[in-house]
C-alpha cells in the first residue's frame, strides 16, 4: 500500500492487447458467467419484466458509485453517502408535511444532498482533515439528525406524481431509474475520460503534490467531487424515497459499504489514481444480477452478502496471487 511508482501514460488502455488483459474484460467474463448460471438455475430469470425489476437492485447505488469512483480516484472517500440519503429523504418527508408538491420535493432532495456534500468537502479541503474520519463522523451526524427528527416514526403521504421517479416506466420495461442510470453513467464516463477535469482527478490521485505544482487546484477539485457525491446521494434519495413511498431514519442503512464494494469491484484502486467508469457499470450489473439470481433461488440476503464479500476479496486477491506465482516461477 506504500507509494509504489505509478506511471501516468498519455493515453490509457489503448490497443487490443491491453483491452484483453484489462480489468473490464475480466469483469465482463464474470458478468457473463453469472448471467449464464442464473439462466440455467431459474426459469424465471430471462423474463423481461423480472430483469427490469432486477435493475432496481443496483440503479440507485450505482448512481452514487459513479461519483464515489471519482472521489476514490482522487484519493478521498465518502462513507456518509447512505446517511445523506437518510437526511435528504427525511427532509423531503418533512416538506410533504408542510404541503410541498413534487417539484419542491426534488429541489429539497437535491439541495440537502448538495449541502451535505459541501459540508464534507469543506471539512476535508478547508481544515485538511482525513476524509475517512470526517465522513465516519458525518455519517453518524447526518443519520443522527434523521433519527432526532423522526425517532421511531415514518413519513408517508408523498404526492401521487412523486412516485414516477422510483416506480415509473419510460417505455415498456425501461424504468425511469434505469434510463437515469444509463444517462448518469454516460455523463460520468465523459467527465472522467474525455475532459481535462477528469485528467486532473487522476493526476491528484497519483500525486497530489505534483498535481499542485502543475497548477491543478487540488483542494477545489476535491471539493467539487464531494459536492458531486452529495448531489448523486440526493438524487438517489429522491429515487429511493419515491420507490418506497415512505421515509424511515434507517433508510438505506449499510449502503455505504455496498457502494464502496461496487466501486472497488469495478477496478477503482482504493489507493487512488486508477480505475475506469465502464468497470463500475459492469460491477453494478454483476452485483445486481447476483442479488437477483440468489433472490429467485430464495437465498437469504445475508448469504448473498457472504458471496459479495468473497467476490470483493477474491477478485482483488486473484491477480495478485497470479502475479506472485509468475514471479516465483521466474526466479
Amino acid at each position: 500500500m506504500d507509494g509504489s511508482a505509478r506511471i501516468l501514460p498519455d493515453r490509457l488502455n489503448s490497443g487490443f492487447s491491453s483491452l484483453i488483459k484489462s480489468w473490464e474484460t475480466l469483469l465482463l467474463a464474470v458478468a457473463i458467467a453469472v448471467f449464464i448460471v442464473n439462466t440455467f438455475t431459474s426459469p424465471y430469470f430471462l423474463d423481461p419484466w423480472n430483469l427490469s425489476d432486477a435493475t432496481f437492485n443496483f440503479t440507485e447505488k450505482a448512481m452514487i458509485a459513479f461519483a464515489m469512483a471519482l472521489l476514490i480516484i482522487s484519493g478521498e472517500i465518502d462513507l456518509s453517502v447512505a446517511a445523506i440519503i437518510a437526511i435528504a429523504s427525511t427532509a423531503m418527508g418533512y416538506a410533504v408535511q408542510l404541503g410541498a408538491e413534487t417539484p419542491t420535493l426534488v429541489l429539497v432532495g437535491v439541495g440537502v444532498g448538495l449541502a451535505c456534500g459541501a459540508f464534507n468537502g469543506l471539512l476535508v479541503t478547508r481544515l485538511g482533515l482525513p476524509s475517512i474520519v470526517v465522513t465516519i463522523g458525518t455519517m453518524s451526524l447526518f443519520r443522527g439528525l434523521a433519527f432526532i427528527i423522526l425517532g421511531d416514526k415514518a413519513y408517508t403521504g408523498y404526492p401521487a406524481d412523486f412516485a414516477f421517479f422510483g416506480q415509473g416506466y419510460v417505455w415498456w420495461v425501461l424504468s425511469f431509474e434505469l434510463v437515469l442510470f444509463v444517462i448518469v453513467a454516460l455523463i460520468f464516463a465523459i467527465i472522467l475520460h474525455r475532459t481535462s477535469f477528469g485528467r486532473t482527478i487522476y493526476a491528484i490521485g497519483n500525486n497530489p503534490t505534483a498535481a499542485l505544482f502543475s497548477g491543478v487546484r487540488v483542494q477545489r477539485v476535491k471539493f467539487v467531487l464531494f459536492l458531486l457525491t452529495g448531489l448523486m446521494s440526493g438524487i438517489a434519495a429522491i429515487c429511493l424515497t419515491s420507490r418506497l413511498g415512505s421515509t424511515r431514519p434507517s433508510i438505506a442503512m449499510g449502503w455505504e459499504l455496498e457502494i464502496v464494494t461496487m466501486v472497488v469491484l469495478g477496478g477503482i484502486s482504493i489507493l487512488g489514481g486508477s480505475g475506469r467508469i465502464p468497470g463500475v457499470v459492469i460491477a453494478a450489473l454483476i452485483l445486481g444480477m447476483v442479488t437477483f439470481g440468489f433472490g429467485l433461488l430464495n437465498v437469504p440476503g445475508i448469504v448473498m452478502s457472504i458471496f459479495i464479500g468473497l467476490l470483493l476479496i477474491g477478485v482483488i486477491a486473484l491477480p495478485r496471487v497470479l502475479s506472485q506465482l509468475v514471479k516465483a516461477k521466474a526466479q
Binding site: 500500500m1 506504500d2 471539512l123 481544515l127 485538511g128 482533515l129 482525513p130 475517512i132 474520519v133 470526517v134 465516519i136 463522523g137 458525518t138 455519517m139 453518524s140 451526524l141 447526518f142 443519520r143 443522527g144 439528525l145 433519527f147 432526532i148 425517532g151 503534490t209 499542485l212 505544482f213 487540488v218 483542494q219 431514519p249 449499510g254 459499504l257 464502496v260 464494494t261 472497488v264 482504493i270 489507493l271 437469504p300 445475508i302 448469504v303 452478502s305 457472504i306 459479495i308 464479500g309 468473497l310 470483493l312 476479496i313 482483488i316 486477491a317 495478485r320 496471487v321 506472485q324
Partner: protein, 327 residues
Amino acid sequence: MNMQRLMKSRELLLALALVLLVGGIAVRFPAFASPSSLGNVFNDTSILIILALGQMVVIITKCIDLSVASNLALTGMIVAIINASAPGIPVAFLIVIAISAGALMGAINGFFVWKLEIPPIVVTLGTLTIFRGIVFLLTDGAWINAHEMSASFKALPRADFVGLPVLSWIAIAIIGVMAVLMTRTAFGRATYAVGGNPHASVYTGINVGFTRFAAFIISGSLAGLCGYLWVARYAVAYVDIAGGFELDVVAACVIGGISIAGGIGSVAGAVMGALFLGVIKNALPVINISPFWQLAISGAAIIIAVALNARAERTKGRVILKKAEVV
C-alpha cells in the same frame, strides 16, 4: 522531548473534556457522578474499551479493522452454540476458544494485508460481511436464548470481585497489558515505527507486513474475547448483535486522538475516547434526552475531535505547500 509533551497535552485535554462532561451533568444530576454510577458507566463501556484498544494497535500501524463487530458476533455465536449443546465444558475453556477463534479471524485479515498487500479497508470490508454471514449460516438465523445457556456461562461477567464486576476487571487488566505492550516492548515501538514511516522501518530492520499481521491478530483476539463477554452479559446470541459497532470502535479511537494516518496514539487516549462515548450514551437517559440524539452527538464529537487533533498534528515542514494552495 517536544513530541512527548504534545502527546501528554493531548491526553490532558481529553481528560479535561471528560471531567467537564461528567461535571456538567453532575451539576444538575448529582447522582450521575456518584462512584457506583460511574462504576456502572465504566462497566457498560468495558467492551468498547477492549475493542478500541485492539483497534488502536491496528490504526497505529496505518491499517484499519472494520471486521471487529462481525468477529465479535461470530465468536459469540460459536461459544454460545458450544455452551448450549455441551453445558459441561468449563467457561475458562470457552474463553480460550473465543480468543482463538477471534485470533484466527484476525490472522485471516492480517494474512491478506501482509502477504497479498490488499488494502486493509478492502479486506476488512469483505470479512465484515463474510463473518456476519457465517453467523447466519451457523444457526440459520435462529437465536440462542438465556435459558439455553448454562448459569456459569452467564454469571462470569456479572460476578462481583472486590466491589467491581469481573467484566470491569477484565477491561482494567487489558488496559494494563496493552499499556505495557505499547510502551515497554520492542513490538510496541515497532507498531509506531511502521505507522509513522513504513519505508524507514524497513531499513531499520522491522518487518512491516508481519507487524501489521500481529496487530490484526491482537485486534481479532480482543474482538473474540468480547464476543464471549457480550453474549454472556446480554445472555443472548443472534446474527445482528453489535451490528455497526465497528464504527463506534473507530470513533472511540478517533476521539482518543489516534491518528488514522498511523504512528500516533496511546492507550490512555483510546480508553478515554471510549469512555467519552460511554458517558454520553449513559448520560442521555439521565438528563432526559431521547436516545435518538446519541448518534448525532457522537458524530459531532468525532468531527470536533478530529479537527482539534489535526490542528495539533500539523507539521511546520508543510507550510510552503499550504501557501501555494491558497493562490
